[in-house]
Point group: C2
């Protein structure tokens, strides 16, 4: 049997509304009574019933995260951080692995206070809009795709920073290692920026294509390109996992990083600094992303009808570490 505030009220010899107030730390109840009630509640192992609370207060203190592709490891670090961040605001994070539309339906039924949707190459988010829900939605992906508030971390700009950094160091042969997928627009944006930026500098482009984003794909592709005729002096990697593969390949081929090969990686995560060799990386700090997302979500739960389709653009930055230097010219 579940313990309710009525049980506590009976034991404490007060009315249940007093218990409710005491538990919510209302100033309307005396300190001594409050303490007494609190101890009794603790003793009895009371857990508030969200359903009842939600019903009257219109708040569930939960945020739903739509995550159709649990398999993909990439955003898991981000999700973990968002979860932590939301906890600070007293929000609970619930994940659904259903397709976007049915996940939204679930969260609508459960009346979460906000919904976060990740860009997903496999779920045609846009086609199904607008969704039938009155819960505020936040979209993490590219701007201009949806009428919902969006957080865009400027993947293109990040890659531009990488090219610029390497060019400034004097590199001429800069390769990009990543997935040239025509379905994944996030990858497209990065490669597009690489192309653009290289063109504008009149430098030869080399895109080393991979089929999947696992570390081993990076390894294979790197082995190949690093053994080619005109080996690049620098590689821009599309992600952390790929970078790990590239480093392994370089080590195996006895190429010194950064003396013989500079490496810049997309993804601004702490792990970049903890590799055998700390890696120069570009992107928005994942902690910052998580912070901004959490904050925006909390904000959305509050103001019902503010800033409908606005876009928050986060400026990526380059963090120089040990993996880049001027090319070894001889």
């Amino acid at each position: 049997m579940t313990i309710t505030i009525k049980d506590i009220a009976q034991k404490a010899g007060v009315s249940f509304s007093t218990v409710s107030k005491a538990l919510r730390n209302s100033p309307l109840v005396q300190d001594t009574t409050k303490r007494k009630i609190l101890t009794i509640a603790e003793e009895m192992g009371y857990q508030p019933n969200i359903a009842a609370r939600r019903l009257v207060s219109k708040k569930s203190w939960a945020v739903g995260v739509v995550w159709p592709s649990v398999e993909r490891a990439t955003p898991s670090i981000l999700i973990t951080l968002i979860n932590e961040e939301l906890e600070k605001h007293d929000y609970t994070t619930l994940l659904s692995m259903n397709k976007i539309d049915s996940a939204i339906e679930v969260f609508t039924r459960f009346q979460t206070d906000a919904i976060l949707i990740f860009y997903d190459r496999d779920s045609s988010f846009i086609e199904q809009m607008p969704y039938q829900t009155n819960i505020p939605i936040l979209y993490y992906g590219m701007s201009g795709q949806t009428p919902y508030p969006t957080i865009d971390v400027g993947r293109g700009e990040a890659i531009r920073l990488a090219v610029e950094h390497l060019a400034r160091l004097g590199h001429q042969r800069i390769a990009y290692l990543g997935e040239p997928s025509y379905i994944d627009q996030l990858q497209q944006e990065k490669i597009g920026a690489y192309m653009d930026e290289m063109d504008s500098r009149n430098m030869d482009k080399t895109v080393v294509p991979i089929h999947s984003m696992e570390s081993h794909d990076g390894y294979i592709a790197a082995i190949q390109v690093l053994q080619s005729e005109r080996r690049p002096t620098a590689i821009i990697s599309g992600s952390y996992d790929l970078t790990r593969g590239i480093l392994r390949a370089a080590a195996e081929l006895k190429l010194d990083v950064p003396k013989q090969l500079s490496v810049v990686s997309y993804d601004h995560i702490p792990q970049m600094a903890e590799l055998e060799l700390p890696i120069t990386s570009v992107g928005v700090d994942v902690k910052r992303i998580a912070g901004v997302i959490a904050e925006k979500l909390v904000q959305l739960t509050a103001n019902q009808s503010e800033s409908p389709g606005d876009v928050i653009r986060l400026r990526p930055e380059l963090v120089q570490r040990a993996s880049t230097s001027a090319p070894n010219v001889f």
Copy 2:
């Protein structure tokens, strides 16, 4: 503004209790009325409020899954299938990535009808027991660890099957490639079974250790062991990911599978048959695991106080595919 049954009632010109019954397809309301109400509900985009429903009917039709290590890719296939399976029973799956204790608290507050907990090397499940919740818990891991109903897929027995199969084919030098982690009991169980089974046949044991379970780890380890003095004629792989690495290594070393190297892999998943070379594998079919888990969960939601600490043991099986044959003895 959310649409409630009262809104529908007004529009349909009936009482709200009739609407409630109509929506639940009760025989107590006339067919014509029922149809009318159903169309209006559809038109208005009605979504039932779970909180209210839960409050009165004591059912949320949701199952909470505790999944602290979202990063780990392994069980994601399983979770996806469980989700599908539960949907057939009209249940919604909610994931929480919090630590076990706080995830349980969340699900208790949300009053899910059952909780599923995965073995997790990082969360000390046992230490914190018993948990303060009245929601039935199902544990997916090793039997004998908890007082909760447990589903055990006999990882040890699976590996024994693999050894037996290879031995019967005439292999003498059978290596095991996997993680000999002293924290991960699931891996321990597999390696332990390998040791045992090899000992009882008086065969030399070779455990090829890896540090992580990614495909690249399998690749590296396989390259190493396959170039060693007394190369094994067969490898038992601890997981699907590792197996992929092993196959790449074999291809690279121009070793023919199965003529020069037999491979048996743990994990009974469809992907095993879809690799370049279909792989002989051991384990319980992941679909069956999902089915059994879902069924047990549904059952737990029904009978409050039945079969408290029982264990469901699933018998693993060996599916012979193209990756195993008698060793090439010359």
